[in-house]
C-alpha cells in the first residue's frame, strides 16, 4: 500500500545547528499518527518543512507516491496538507461560513454567492457531525472548541489529504476533548491521514494508531500505540530515565495562611470557601470555564470581589493587585504570552517587574537575576535576553521566579505546566515540592490544572470546582482520577458544603 505521506531522511540545518538530522515518517491513509517529542526535539521544524514554510536541505517527501516539494504554505494547502495550530488562525470578526471558505469564496456574476457559501459551510460542518455550529455565527462568539472545529472544517472543505493537529486539546475541556477525539476517529474513517502532535501521552495512546518519537532532530523510535508503555515512550523522549515525575518530600503543615469564606466574584466564582496552610499544595480541579481561573484572579485582586471574606495572614477584605503583592500573594497566569510576561522585554525586566526599586541600577540587578536564572535552571543567554526568545518552559520558569524574587508566601499557579516540555514540567514539580517542604518558612501553593495525574501527583489536597462552586478540599490519598472527573461534571449531585 502506498503511504499517504512519506518523509525520508529529511535534514535541515540552520547555520551550524542541525535542526533535523534525517527524519523518517510514514503515514497511511486512514491512520492517526502521533508525533511525540519534547520542545526543541524538532517537531515544529518538521511540520514547517511539511507545510512548506521552510525547505529541507536533504531528504525526500512523497504524497500518495508523488514527489511533494511545496514552495510555500499556500502550495502545500492546495496540494492537500492542512495544519491546525495551537493558536487558531481564524478571522474573529467574520462569520463561520466566511472563515471556512476564506480565500476560495464562491462568486456568481461578480458578486459573492452567499447562498452557496452557507450551504458549502453547512455541508462541511455536517460532515464533521457538528451541524449545531451556525454558518452565520460570528467566530469570536464561539467557544474555543467550536472555533477549532471551524478551522478543521476549513481544512476539510479544501479537500485535505493530510491533516496536522498541533496540541489540539491543550485549551479544551475534558468534554470538548472527548468530542474532538470522536471527530478525529470519524476523519480517520473517511480516509484522512492525520498527524497528531501532543504532550499528553495517554491521549496519544488513545487517539493514535501509531506513533513516532523525535529527539534532537532524529527519529528515535515508534510503532503501534497499542501495547506501548507510557514510561517507555517518556524514556525515548527524554533520552534518560525519569525515575519519578512527581517528587514528594515530607511536608509539615504550618499555620493557616489564607482563609476564604463564601467568596463570590462578578459572575464566577459563585461560592468558594477553603483554608490554605503553610507547607501545603492545594489543587483545584474542574472543567475549563467552571470558574477556577476567576477564583484565582479574584484572590489576586485582578477581578472584583462581590461578597465573602478573604483573610490573608493579618489582612482582611478585598485588595488591589498591588496590595496583594505587598501582602505576599501573587498569581502566575495561565496565559503566559498575553498576560504572564512582557515578551519583548528582558528576563531581568520581567523578573523584577513587581519588585522594582524606585531607582534601578541594571548592574546591581544583574547578579540577582542571574541567581534566579541559575536556581530555576532557565536556559538563556543571560539576564538581558528577551523573554520572547525563550522556550515555553523557560518562560514559565521566569514567570514563577518573579513571585519567588518578590518573596511571596502564597503562590497562585494557574495551569503552570500547560504547553511546556516534559523536562521543564519535571523541574516545576520539583520546585513546587521544594517550596512547601524545604523552604523556610514553607510557602503555600494553590494550583489549578486540567491535567489530573499532575494534580494527584503534586497536591496534598484537592477541591473540585463545578459551575462556579468550589467543593470541599479532600486529601489526595482519598481521591482517584475518576472521582475528580465525576465531581467536575457535577455527576455526584454534590454541591459545596
Amino acid at each position: 500500500m502506498i503511504p499517504r505521506l512519506e518523509m525520508r531522511g529529511v535534514t535541515k540545518r540552520f547555520g551550524a545547528q542541525v535542526a533535523l538530522a534525517g527524519v523518517d515518517l510514514s503515514v497511511q491513509p486512514g491512520e492517526v499518527h502521533a508525533l511525540l517529542g519534547q520542545n526543541g526535539a524538532g517537531k515544529s521544524t518538521l511540520m514547517k518543512v511539511l507545510s512548506g514554510a521552510i525547505r529541507p536541505d536533504e531528504g525526500e517527501m512523497r504524497l500518495d507516491g508523488q514527489p511533494y516539494r511545496p514552495a510555500d504554505p499556500l502550495e502545500a494547502r492546495r496540494t492537500g496538507v492542512a495544519m491546525i495550530y495551537q493558536e487558531l488562525s481564524l478571522a474573529p470578526h467574520l462569520s463561520v461560513a466566511e472563515n471556512i471558505l476564506l480565500g476560495m469564496e464562491p462568486v456568481r456574476g461578480g458578486r459573492l454567492d452567499w447562498a452557496a457559501m452557507r450551504s458549502r459551510a453547512s455541508k462541511a460542518l455536517a460532515e464533521l457531525h457538528h451541524p449545531e455550529i451556525h454558518p452565520d455565527a460570528q467566530v469570536q462568539t464561539l467557544s474555543i472548541a467550536a472555533q477549532q472545529i471551524v478551522e478543521i472544517g476549513r481544512a476539510v472543505a479544501v479537500g485535505c489529504r493530510v491533516l496536522v493537529l498541533d496540541e489540539p486539546t491543550s485549551s479544551l475541556t475534558q468534554a470538548d476533548a472527548e468530542a474532538l477525539f470522536a471527530l478525529v476517529a470519524r476523519l480517520r474513517q473517511q480516509g484522512h491521514a492525520i498527524i497528531y502532535i501532543t504532550h499528553f501521552l495517554e491521549e496519544a495512546k488513545r487517539v493514535a494508531d501509531r506513533y513516532t518519537v523525535l529527539r534532537d532532530g532524529q527519529t528515535v523510535g515508534g510503532g503501534p500505540t497499542a501495547g506501548a508503555e507510557v514510561n517507555e515512550i517518556v524514556n525515548l523522549m527524554v533520552g534518560r530515565r525519569l525515575e519519578q515525575l512527581f517528587p514528594r518530600s515530607t511536608r509539615t503543615q504550618g499555620e493557616a495562611l489564607l482563609e476564604v469564606t463564601d467568596l463570590r466574584g462578578h459572575g464566577k466564582p459563585e461560592r468558594a470557601s477553603f483554608t490554605l496552610h503553610r507547607g501545603e499544595v492545594l489543587g483545584i480541579a474542574g472543567l475549563v470555564g467552571a470558574g477556577r481561573t476567576e477564583l484565582l484572579r479574584a484572590l489576586a485582586g485582578l477581578d472584583p470581589v462581590r461578597a465573602g471574606k478573604v483573610k490573608l495572614g493579618v489582612h482582611l477584605g478585598p485588595s488591589s493587585p498591588t496590595d496583594r503583592w505587598a501582602q505576599g500573594m501573587a498569581l502566575v497566569s495561565e496565559n503566559r504570552k498575553e498576560e504572564g510576561l512582557a515578551l519583548n522585554l528582558s528576563i531581568a525586566d520581567n523578573l523584577a517587574m513587581a519588585t522594582m526599586p524606585a531607582v534601578v541600577r541594571p548592574s546591581s540587578l544583574r547578579p540577582v537575576v542571574q541567581k534566579w536564572i541559575d536556581r530555576m535552571q532557565v536556559r538563556c543567554q543571560g539576564p538581558e535576553q528577551t523573554v520572547g526568545e525563550l522556550s515555553g518552559g523557560n518562560q514559565q520558569k521566569v514567570a514563577i521566579a518573579r513571585l519567588l524574587h518578590h518573596g511571596v508566601d502564597v503562590l497562585l499557579l494557574d495551569e503552570p505546566t500547560r504547553g511546556i516540555d516534559v523536562a521543564s514540567k519535571a523541574q516545576i514539580y520539583e520546585l513546587i515540592d521544594e517550596l512547601v517542604s524545604k523552604e523556610r518558612p514553607a510557602k503555600a501553593v494553590i494550583m489549578v490544572s486540567s491535567y489530573l495525574p499532575e494534580l494527584l501527583g503534586v497536591c496534598d489536597r484537592i477541591a473540585v470546582m463545578c459551575r462556579g462552586r468550589l467543593g470541599p478540599a479532600r486529601p489526595v490519598a482519598q481521591l482517584t482520577e475518576a472521582d475528580l472527573v465525576r465531581e467536575a461534571a457535577g455527576a455526584d449531585g454534590e454541591v459545596a458544603a
Binding site: 489576586a300 485582578l302 488591589s320 493587585p321 498591588t322 496590595d323 496583594r324 503583592w325 505587598a326 501573587a330 498569581l331 497566569s333 498575553e338 498576560e339 504572564g340 510576561l341 512582557a342 515578551l343 519583548n344 522585554l345 528582558s346 525586566d349 520581567n350 523584577a352 517587574m353 513587581a354 522594582m356 526599586p357 524606585a358 531607582v359 534601578v360 541600577r361 541594571p362 543567554q381 543571560g382 538581558e384 528577551t386 520572547g388 526568545e389 518573579r402
Partner: protein, 322 residues
C-alpha cells in the same frame, strides 16, 4: 561583546545617521563644493532640531507606554499664544514661559485623564484634543498672530553672538541635552521608567504584577504635555510671536522622529538616543535638500521615503536578530 538590547538598537539607528551624513556630505561636496560637516552647519542643524527633539522626548515616553499623542502640535501653538499674550500683558519673560509650560502640562493632564477615565483609545482622544486645543489657541488669539516684545526668551535658540561663542551651542540646545539626559535616566534607571516599558509591552502583565496602569499612563501624558510646553517656549523663541496656526502638522514630524529612532507604535520599544537621532535625521534631510537647492516638493517626497525606508530597515534588522 554583548550589549544591552536597547543600546544595540540605538547603535543601529546611529549607524543609519552616520550613513546619511556621509551620503549628504558627498552629494553636497560633489555638487557645490560645500562642506556639510562644517561646525557652523552642524550648529544650525542642532538649533533647528531642538523644537521637534524636545517634544519627541515626551512623545518617546508616550509611545513606549503604548499610546500616542496627536495633540502636541496644537499644544505647542497654544503655548506660543499664551506666552505672547502674557508678555503683551506685561508679565516678565520667565513668568510668561512658565505659563506656556503650564499650558502644556494642563493639556497633558486633560489627555491623561481622558485616556485613563473614559477608556477611549489614545488616538481618538488626542485627535479630539488636537482640534479642541487648536480651537482654543485660535480663539485666544482672535485668529491672529500675537506680537510680543523682544526679550531674552528670543535668544534661547538664536545663533550665539561672538561675545558668547564659548558656550558653543545656544542655551536652548543645552537645555535639550539636559532634558535628554533626564528623560534617558528616568526611562532606564527608575521604577517609573521601567514601568512605562512594562505597560507598553504588556498592559495585562503589568497589572498582574501590581503596577497601577492608569497612574503610569496618566503621568506619561502629563509629561508629554510638559515637553510640548517646553517645545512651545522654543518655538516662541524662534518666531518671537504667538502663532495659533503655527506648528501645524508638527506632531507627525515628532512621531516620525520617535519611530525612526526605533520606537514601536505597539509600545514597549523606543529610546531617547533613538528619538534624538530620528529628529536629527529629519532635519539633516531638510537642510541637505535646501542646501542642494531642491524645491520644497522634492524635500517632502524625500522625507516621506526616508521615514518608510528607515523604519523598514529597522524592522528587517530586528527580524534578522531574532
Amino acid at each position: 561583546m554583548k550589549l544591552a538590547p536597547t543600546l544595540r538598537r540605538s547603535l543601529g539607528a546611529l549607524g543609519g545617521l552616520v550613513g546619511m551624513f556621509v551620503l549628504f556630505a558627498i552629494l553636497l561636496y560633489a555638487s557645490k563644493g560645500l562642506s556639510f560637516a562644517d561646525p557652523r552647519n552642524l550648529e544650525t542643524i542642532l538649533r533647528q532640531t531642538t523644537i521637534v527633539a524636545i517634544a519627541a522626548l515626551g512623545m518617546t515616553m508616550v509611545i513606549v507606554s503604548g499610546g500616542i499623542d496627536l495633540s502636541v502640535g496644537a499644544v505647542i501653538a497654544l503655548a506660543t499664544v499664551v506666552i505672547a499674550a502674557c508678555m503683551q500683558a506685561g508679565f516678565p519673560p520667565l513668568a510668561a514661559a512658565l505659563a506656556g509650560i503650564g499650558t502644556g502640562v494642563g493639556c497633558g493632564i486633560l489627555n491623561g485623564a481622558l485616556v485613563t477615565r473614559l477608556k477611549v483609545v489614545p488616538f481618538i482622544v488626542t485627535l479630539g484634543t488636537m482640534l479642541v486645543v487648536r480651537g482654543v489657541a485660535k480663539g485666544l488669539a482672535h485668529e491672529q498672530k500675537i506680537d510680543a516684545p523682544l526679550s531674552w526668551l528670543n535668544e534661547l535658540l538664536a545663533r550665539l553672538p561672538s561675545a558668547r561663542q564659548w558656550m558653543i551651542f545656544p542655551p536652548g540646545v543645552w537645555l535639550l541635552f539636559a532634558l535628554a539626559f533626564g528623560v534617558g535616566g528616568l526611562m532606564l534607571y527608575t521604577r517609573f521608567g521601567r514601568h512605562i516599558f512594562a505597560v507598553g509591552s504588556n498592559e495585562q502583565a503589568a497589572r498582574l504584577c501590581g503596577i497601577s496602569v492608569p497612574r503610569v499612563k496618566f503621568l506619561v501624558y502629563l509629561l508629554g504635555g510638559l515637553f510640548a510646553g517646553l517645545a512651545g517656549v522654543m518655538q516662541f523663541s524662534r518666531l518671537t510671536v504667538g502663532d495659533p496656526t503655527g506648528a501645524m502638522g508638527l506632531e507627525l514630524d515628532i512621531i516620525a522622529a520617535v519611530v525612526i529612532g526605533g520606537g514601536s507604535l505597539a509600545g514597549g520599544e523606543g529610546s531617547v538616543l533613538g528619538c534624538l537621532i530620528g529628529a536629527l535625521v529629519m532635519q539633516v534631510i531638510r537642510s541637505g535638500c535646501s542646501q542642494m537647492g531642491w524645491p520644497n516638493w522634492v524635500q517632502e517626497i524625500v522625507t516621506g521615503a526616508i521615514i518608510v525606508i528607515a523604519v523598514a530597515l529597522d524592522r528587517l534588522r530586528q527580524r534578522k536578530a531574532s
